[in-house]
Homo-oligomer: 564 residues x 2
């Protein structure tokens, strides 16, 4: 090893209108490179040398061009342009590609090779819900497919446009916080508002909305900076503080959709007993029933000073899981952030955060917490001051009772600062033919170990594959398992086969096909097997009711029109 | 007033097979009579004298006989008898009346006059879910209406059988706790299990199911003793400890239904992002989509020793509401039971609990908490010991900050002991022509005062009508208002007009048509106006999917087939 050798990680923003500018995560000017310890791990795991990291390949720096025709008639284009306004529509190659691709690994693999499988005929940026209503009405009459793009962070082919038609981009204009109702602790927001703008507006509510208190949205997915409130709701996302604040679906108070069957609006009540809840029928429909045009979210007091961080090292995964369950069922309130990493993720994490090989690492090992057995745990409690303090005390008590060693709040502080930056590493790795991808699954406590072992067994059966697992969303009845896997692979068909195998292993071992990534068009083929035919028929009945002509996100979304 | 005069309250159990035995609340041998202070209040309010309380009228002591024919064919009766077994079916007059009436005031008014409007042709007590499956399948083929009876405590015409057909009684055989999963903290239970049996089995889980801890169901509606787990779920009930444990819908983990469209079973996951949640689509369907045959409920640690009771007197309703909102939004955990009574309920309550006119009452008044302004608050915190203590401390701090005087846990203890007994008073009052009835509504904080005032105004516009209001289910975004009204009235048509007027006032003032009583066939005519046509059409689409022949609870249930 040439000491001091630095791989040629890209530090340049993607070229304008390039394929890379479509698939690159996040801010074009932001990068996060693997740590030195990670770099060494990559070389060792994938049997690579420094020489392999000199020249990035298939970067997608080419300018986007496509040869897909436009099937919309000139009349249709004129009609839709008339509704949205000329400056809010486009049919150029770049727009058609940019607004029909998310962050699914397959999409990056395709775009690196300038492969574009599907694009919409036309991209439209509606100004308001009236535009959306008119467009949906027109398209329903003319049977023109409609797709929806908001933050663009989907990792499940949520933005794929197999039937062409038009793509509505919600984040261009419909991205405002309409109002804060302090008495009700709710905020009414347009679906295309990005996480940071929404959170900042709530933090600043005393200035902007003349409230007595500062507020927080309570929802912080890893995609926070590049996802929107509407996306959170329609895909049933979970944020990193979901253990306390609830998942996105829990935070929804009322919704307004435009559907081919009409405008669908739910009432603002804290609870009702007026039949199956209309709010719940719509949450998670991923644009297959209609388009979310306004949503009222629950908000929470913003009290960052009360945050109580903690970190622990457990002697084993079993001990970490047992402690997590005791905490989740302890009835003393729940921590906001709570994460446990399995032994492999713990080791890789120590490398990622530069702790591997340091005196701290040696101390931990000396105290009997052995590599590839020990498990890292970290998080924090929020809420009213004494409440948060008590939650932290109880967490500490239960962790220690389960054999854990306290690490202070260091790891949590470190993670907190970099928690949104990890996805940036994907581009560096793929530049050298290494895939990093994730899958997650909801699971009950009694099935956690079976699922963890079953999925790991499948992934690790492929030589030279890294598989890290953590649990990060806790409920009294169970948690999620988040699998991060890394492998050297460049062929998309091979990858799809490998990936489908993991999904099959998740289902075979009793996990849910998605905990918080949604379904999109990536998991849809597993839906009938997963939920069962009678259950899927109920969702299809709703689909057929709201969208009898199947113009909303058609071509397999949620598995509702897979046969077509 | 003849001092020492005792009204002739009935102390005799209803005669066997009498109309009274159908409509009387609860245990036939249990009674609760109005207190002396209440009796005086009744005489004064309704302009009555002791002489009016000497002879009860229209007691419904007559033996049940009806002249309703049976429209089911002999073949149908034979087929259904073949499925359920001869001893599990009946077509006698008494069974047909008993199992098609709940506790709606209208039903009591009718039965006191031996008026029977609708009965099923046949009553069937299924042994298990296979029986239910076969019966639904047969009835769907033959287009025979099916109704469902479980606890029988509906106050919304939930058990009315306008289209005859068969009535399935779930509580006769399908009333067992199938299992407790301690790792997941869930219990799988048959729908016809009554509250006390379910709670006792969970409390005794260490003996019965060999668990490490005792558990509680967390759901304690006023009807607890005579309602069933299945009824809680399908009507979206709320228990008296819902502020901490959640409403019935929140406590459901997985469900199994038999529907004409097939067996519908949801998976056990703490969270998923696989489209609109199937569990939520079914909760609250009130038997209009299918029949709940098994349900897995979340359960909670049973730690009664940690209960921390409190009681306060507020100077005004505004102060009580403000404190309640601060507590609900305080982020220090929530009390399990929390109740605030408006000024009129506070006065009537002091009379009910024998506090009116005592030295305590005088002390409270002396300290400036004036009758018809002051508001009673009581409740308790549960959960882990220090958590419960902290919730109580925070509640006390906020109440005092809002001008409240502490009353200790006395009122809560008193209420706790008698909380399930109050419905028994209904028979005493109706024996003398006095109706006591209730309506409840969900409401956001910003609309609470408008709703309270609007509904009170309507009720009090009728001279000589008592209207008590409390809020007892708290959420960060709002609460419920529970209206209890008493009036002297014996004509059913008059009463229906009065009652519909209150519902209209609730809707006109932005309340929900039901917070936790469900919809049944009593509120159904208001559903389109309340939820809106587009929204109701979505529920009708589900109805038509699950029950294309409209055999499930037909004749207006939930407003889904009102036109027929």
């Amino acid at each position: 090893m040439a000491h001091g050798f630095q791989p040629n990680w890209t530090e340049k923003p993607p070229k304008k209108n390039s394929f890379r500018s479509v698939f690159k995560w996040g801010d074009p000017k932001e990068f996060k490179h693997p740590s030195h310890a990670w770099y060494e791990m990559l070389k060792q795991t994938f049997d690579l040398t420094d020489a392999d990291f000199k020249k990035p390949r298939f970067e997608g720096n080419e300018k986007v061009t496509i040869d897909h025709g436009i099937s919309l008639s000139a009349d249709d284009i004129e009609a839709i342009t008339g509704i949205a306004g000329k400056k809010n529509v486009s049919t150029d190659d770049y727009s058609r590609v940019k607004y029909s691709h998310g962050k699914t690994v397959d999409e990056a693999m395709d775009l690196r090779h300038q492969r574009v499988r599907h694009v919409p005929d036309m991209v439209v940026h509606p100004k308001n819900k009236n535009d959306v209503q008119k467009i949906v009405s027109y398209c329903n009459t003319q049977k023109i497919p409609i797709y929806v793009f908001s933050g663009g962070s989907s990792v499940t082919f949520g933005l794929k446009t197999p039937k062409a038609g038009i793509m509505l981009v919600m984040s261009t204009h419909m991205n405002q916080l309409i109002g804060v109702n302090e008495l009700n602790q709710t905020a009414t927001v347009q679906p295309g508002m990005f996480g940071p703008a929404y959170e900042a507006a709530l933090n600043d509510a005393p200035d902007t909305f003349n409230t007595a208190h500062c507020y927080t949205c309570g929802h912080f997915p890893q995609s926070f900076e590049f996802s929107t409130v509407g996306g959170w709701v329609v895909t049933l996302g979970s944020g990193q503080a979901s253990t306390y604040y609830g998942d996105a679906g829990d935070i929804v108070f009322a919704q307004e959709y435009v559907t081919p069957a009409g405008s669908f609006k739910t009432l603002e009540f804290p609870a009702t007993a007026t039949g199956p809840k209309l709010n719940d029928i719509m949450k998670g429909n991923e644009g297959a029933f209609g388009i979310l045009v306004e949503v009222t979210m629950k908000i929470f007091r913003y009290m960052p000073k009360n945050r109580q961080r903690f970190g622990f090292m457990f002697p084993s995964w079993e001990a970490a899981v047992n402690a997590s369950r005791e905490i989740s069922q302890g009835e003393f309130g729940l921590p906001a952030v709570f994460r446990i990493s399995d032994p492999e993720e713990t080791e890789v994490g120590l490398k990622l955060y530069g702790i591997h090989g340091t005196p701290i690492d040696k101390l931990i090992t000396f105290r009997g917490y052995k590599p590839m057995e020990r498990c890292l745990c970290m998080g924090w409690a929020e809420g009213e001051k004494a409440f948060a303090g008590h939650v932290k005390d109880m967490v500490a008590k239960i962790c220690k009772h389960n054999g854990a060693m306290s690490l202070s709040g260091y790891a949590a502080r470190k993670w907190e600062k970099t928690r949104y930056r990890e996805p940036y590493m994907r581009e560096d790795l793929m530049d050298y033919g290494i895939i990093i991808d994730t899958l997650e699954s909801g699971v009950t406590w009694d099935n956690l170990h079976r699922l963890h072992q079953g999925v790991r067994k499948h992934i690790k059966s492929r030589p030279g594959t890294i598989c890290m697992t953590h649990a990060s969303h806790f409920y009294p009845q169970g948690t999620n398992l988040y699998f991060i896997f890394m492998l050297k692979m460049t062929d998309l068909a091979d990858y799809r086969k490998f990936h489908d195998g993991i999904l099959a292993a998740i289902l075979a071992n009793g996990g849910s096909i998605s905990h918080h990534h949604g379904v999109g068009k990536l998991f849809s083929k597993f839906m009938d097997q997963h939920l069962g035919k009678t259950q899927m028929e109920a969702l299809r009945a709703l689909k057929n009711h709201f969208d009898p002509n199947h113009i909303m996100n058609p071509g397999g979304h949620l598995g509702l029109d897979a046969d077509e």
